[in-house]
């Protein structure tokens, strides 16, 4: 029984961090209607940035946040404006910009393999002051960096939600996501909004990277497993929904952790895909998805 509670709480903690990676993906989709396949690679870029920050300065890993998050914001911002925008514009009249999706896949290949060329294939772990710290509670152990990570996710989620609801830029982003044409008629600069959305989505990856570094390792294709998980999460939660992404992440974390207490861990992977397809069949728009969005 304790094992299940321990697994449940661990699932929620890890799931929140998955949710954080998915938030960026869902945000970009919500605005641009594009699935960003380079999302995992952006996470990888963030993790290398955070890793080198910790290694070179030797500071507390969370001090990397004010460096890595803005860095990733600008990384995403300029990636959208230099690489994706021209392709998007060529595909303006198309309802589903498939070429853009494929281009993000190209970016994924380029980034992952550039990292392989620069940093090599080995796995790197940054030993930080919080690495390996645990809370003990009735023979149950919870990793301090995961607890902090879950906390940061919640703060980020709430902040983003508030930002989109109440700030000027947030409102412009929401308007664009509801109706591109109408928003641009209202004087909202669509290209800028896309840049910002992409930047914000990448910044979420940067945040997730800083959260992961104290207990995870970095290598060039570290983004891939997170990427696929993020895809599942955003569909579970409803493409475009921020609370949906975080909740979806937590659900995935719980399935992985609690599920594994009843079956082999390899079968929980399958269970995950099963749940995914079930949700798709029963409530295609996901838990928080809006109906008009499909």
């Amino acid at each position: 029984m304790l094992g299940i509670i321990e697994a449940l709480i661990n699932g929620i903690l890890m799931g929140s961090i998955y949710g954080l990676t998915a938030v960026g993906l869902t945000l970009i989709f919500g605005v641009m209607k594009v699935i960003n396949f380079a999302h995992g690679s952006i996470l990888m870029v963030g993790m290398f940035a955070a890793y080198w920050f910790v290694i070179l300065t030797g500071w507390n890993p969370y001090f990397a946040i004010p460096v890595v998050v803005p860095l990733l914001f600008w990384f995403g911002y300029y990636m959208q404006s230099f690489i994706i925008k021209p392709i998007f514009e060529a595909e303006k009249d198309v309802r589903e910009p498939i070429t853009v999706i494929i281009v993000t896949t190209g970016i994924w290949y380029v980034l992952d393999n550039l990292a392989l060329m620069i940093f090599g294939a080995e796995f790197r772990v940054a030993k930080t002051s919080v690495t390996g710290q645990v809370f003990e509670f009735y023979e149950m152990y919870f990793l301090l960096p995961k607890v902090i990570g879950a906390g940061i996710t919640m703060v980020c989620g709430i902040y983003l939600y508030w930002f989109l609801k109440h700030s000027r830029m947030g409102k412009a982003i929401r308007a664009t996501s509801l109706d591109r044409e109408a928003a641009s008629l209202m004087g909202i600069k669509q290209a800028k909004i896309y840049n910002v959305a992409f930047g914000l989505g990448s910044a979420c990856c940067g945040m997730a990277a800083c959260v992961l570094i104290p207990f995870y390792y970095v290598y060039p294709t570290v983004g891939v497993p997170f990427d696929i998980k993020a895809f599942i999460i955003v569909v579970l939660g409803g493409l475009g929904s921020i609370p949906g992404a975080i909740l979806g992440g937590i659900i995935v974390g719980i399935i992985e952790n609690v599920g594994a207490q009843f079956m082999a861990a390899t079968w929980t992977e399958l269970l995950l895909y099963g749940v995914f397809l079930f949700v798709l069949l029963v409530k295609p728009s996901g838990l928080f998805g809006q109906k008009h969005d499909y």
């Binding site: 890890m14 207990f215 974390g253 599920g259």
Partner: protein, 413 residues
């Protein structure tokens, strides 16, 4: 200009295509060795080490005058990236044999790639030396051209249990419950099947038999399960990423067992020790070879390698290194680079001493299935040594590092 652009791409592509399949024959004074190994993808790290070891060996052989019986012929290495994908491996083998006209092939580390790729070599009658690929069946298909240096997985699993029995006796510790945790690939599942049989034979109770996806981003659930199963000994088969994740998580969640016995691979990867650090303290790992073995010339070779590439040799790279010297010896004895003559020589050859003596045993000697019958394994224990981690050979007892007593069972955390 536009026209130019439209023309240039196909022309360049065609030129490259034609170039790669040109009828370039190997110059008579070189022997071409094709190496199909994973240079990108998930096993890239181990593939790159294998490449480095081969390059160092060939550089040594060539600068020492090449193959004397062939008038000082030089060895030429050709590398192909298998990406860890069998279909790529097969295609590359076809290319190596037909277009590059290699005389020998080596590879492929991933058993799943070696398995079908050796089949290609067999069809064309090109000798294929497998330094490491553990799947039993690779040398159990009656092929004449496949020669494996490392032990097969049945031997690995068996030695792990023999080691456990020896430890029980030596330290008079009672071990009843064992747990198996392994990646659900070809390799891990192959080990696990053997473990289950061996545990039954030897009267151990299996309290957990847990495969996990090797691409998992979180192995906490497996560790929670392991902790609750309360085994005395855990057997693990992991790739590097999951080895790091499992070892760190087990340490953090204070999983107390008497011993952890891992199966090389990820646990023998240099980046594992760097990443797991003290969490890997007391871990037992089975490998083909270890840098602290008391073998002639080992220290110099390892120092040279470390200077060149920045890390120690490990089992996989030593096997690759030795493979080059086996090839050299076979060429010397055959006095020809004809594949059939080479095959015949390899099937009869016994290579002893010299650089081959770096291995944990004295001679490489292939049986009729092509398996090196002398391949033996050693077990090392990981201990803290200053800031780094040290791997100390403990088993078999006759090769144990002088003055070292293994810690068994490991202290409670």
């Amino acid at each position: 200009m536009k026209m130019f652009k439209q023309l240039v791409v196909p022309v360049v592509a065609l030129a490259m295509l034609a170039g790669s399949f040109g009828f370039a024959q190997a110059a008579p004074d070189t022997v071409k060795i094709g190496n199909i190994i994973p240079l990108s993808g998930p096993s890239a790290s181990v593939g790159i080490q294998g490449k480095q070891a081969r390059e160092m060996a060939v550089e040594e052989i060539n600068s020492a005058g090449g193959i004397k019986s062939l008038g000082g012929a030089k060895l030429e290495l050709l590398f192909a990236d298998s990406k860890g994908d069998p279909t790529v491996g097969v295609t590359e083998a076809e290319r190596m044999i037909n277009s590059e006209k290699v005389h020998l092939l080596t590879g492929c580390w991933n058993s799943a790639v070696t398995y079908p790729t050796t089949q290609v070599a067999e069809r064309y009658g090109i000798p294929f030396i497998v330094p490491v690929s553990v799947r039993d069946t690779i040398t159990e298909r009656g092929f004449k051209n496949v020669f494996r240096i490392a032990a097969k997985d049945g031997w690995w699993a068996k030695d792990q249990f023999v080691f456990l029995d020896d430890m029980k006796k030596e330290f008079n510790v009672d071990i009843k419950k064992v747990a198996f945790v392994y990646e659900n690939g070809d390799w891990g599942v192959g080990f696990a099947e053997k473990w289950v049989d061996l545990a039954k034979e030897r009267g151990y109770e299996v309290v957990l038999n847990e495969p996990y996806p090797s691409t998992a981003s979180d192995l906490t659930p497996v560790v929670i399960k392991l902790k609750r199963a309360k085994p005395d000994v855990v057997f693990m088969t992991s790739n590097a990423a999951d080895a790091i994740l499992l070892t760190n998580t087990m340490a953090e969640m204070k999983v107390n067992v008497k011993a952890i016995i891992s199966s090389g691979g990820g646990h023998a990867d240099p980046s594992f020790l760097a990443a797991a650090g003290q969490n890997a303290e007391y871990l037992f790992d089975i490998v083909e070879w270890e840098a602290d073995l008391n073998r002639p010339g080992l220290k110099e070779t390892n120092d040279k390698y470390k200077k060149l590439y920045g890390h120690n040799l490990n089992g996989e790279s030593v096997d690759a290194y030795a493979a080059m010297y086996v090839i050299k010896e076979a060429l010397e004895q055959a006095g020809s680079n004809d594949p059939e003559a080479l095959r015949k020589t390899l099937s009869e050859i016994q290579v002893c001493g010299g650089k081959v003596g770096l291995l944990a045993y004295d001679c490489i000697d292939f049986d009729e299935s092509g398996q090196n019958k002398n391949a033996s394994l050693v077990i090392v224990q990981t201990r803290t040594k200053g800031k780094e981690m040290d791997r100390i050979t403990v088993w078999p007892k006759n090769v144990r590092r002088a003055g070292y007593t293994p810690v068994f069972p490991q202290p409670e955390k």
